[in-house]
């Protein structure tokens, strides 16, 4: 057991513990905050595994953007502030399937890697990673930019009720005006 092993073990324990709390807590907002802890521990894992660029992108995009979006959604759907009891289904099949898949994967990976030992590469992989992104993977990279644009347009079209529904919206427009007049 080296220092990297101990760090990976501790960060993994934090990540799994926070993950358990994310899927089991009764507070909606606390689930989002535990998700921050889990994703932060995973970013620490990436740092130990000498993937600095992935770690900082994780902090920027996941902890910075995705969790903030999720907390926005929690607020916009008027979630209850305190503990609420109706967040869960009775979950024996969920526990069976989730535990089965998780433990099954863990057994597979333990069987594949046993207690083998691998030397960590030297740190500082960001420039080599950028070289790979813009040399071997430049076409998927550009396709991803198109995908982000498509997701942006899709989210806008989904959330505006006056786009994309030609029939019923036009026939309902005088009713909407009528409602505005009555209000």
């Amino acid at each position: 057991m080296t220092g990297a092993d101990l760090l990976l073990l501790a960060l993994g324990a934090v990540a799994v513990g926070a993950g358990v709390l994310v899927v089991s807590t009764k507070h909606l907002v606390r689930a989002g905050l535990y998700l921050v802890v889990c994703l932060g521990a995973l970013a620490g894992d990436y740092l130990v595994l000498t993937a600095e660029l992935v770690a900082w992108v994780q902090v920027l995009i996941y902890v910075g953007a995705v969790v903030v979006l999720l907390l926005f959604a929690v607020m916009l759907t008027r979630a209850p502030i305190g503990a609420s009891d109706d967040l869960d289904r009775p979950g024996w099949p969920a526990a069976l399937i989730g535990g089965g898949s998780g433990l099954g994967l863990a057994v597979l990976l333990v069987d594949a890697f046993r207690w083998s030992r691998v030397e960590l590469p030297t740190a500082g992989t960001a420039d080599r990673l950028g070289e790979q992104v813009f040399r071997s993977w430049v076409l998927p990279f550009e396709v991803l930019s198109v995908l982000l644009l498509a997701a942006l347009v899709g989210a806008i079209v989904l959330s505006r009720p006056d786009i994309g529904r030609p029939g019923p919206v036009r026939s309902a427009t005088p009713a909407a005006g009528d409602e505005g007049g009555r209000a």
Binding site: Y46, L69, A73, D88, G98, A106, A175
Partner: protein
Amino acid sequence: MRPVVPYVTAALLFGLGVFGVLRRRNAVLVLMAVELMLNAVNLILVTADTTVRAQLPHAGQVFALFVIVLAAAEIGVGLAIVLQLYRLRASVAVDEVPLTEAPTPVPAGVAGVAADRSAAGTTGGVDGPEVRG
């Protein structure tokens, strides 16, 4: 470095994500569990990048970056759908979503014909009857 430690962490996180998706009723919590699964896959990719010798160097980390971008796009569209569901139904419980009826509560023809019947009938097509009832 023992690669089995991050691999087992990722497997347990994936199991937790599956459990959360199947267990939770709130759609936002389901999205959080999906994030847990995506992060487990990312951890597998990064660990494989450092432990398995590949033909292209750092392919695992590049894939992890791509998965992060895909997760950002997924969460944007997913939250737009969830907010639209909340606007229609005033609830984000995933097991109360009716899968067999039309998405708008009042069909187009009925709304057009019965527009003069009452304002309540047609505005139900926009806001959803559950909001009013």
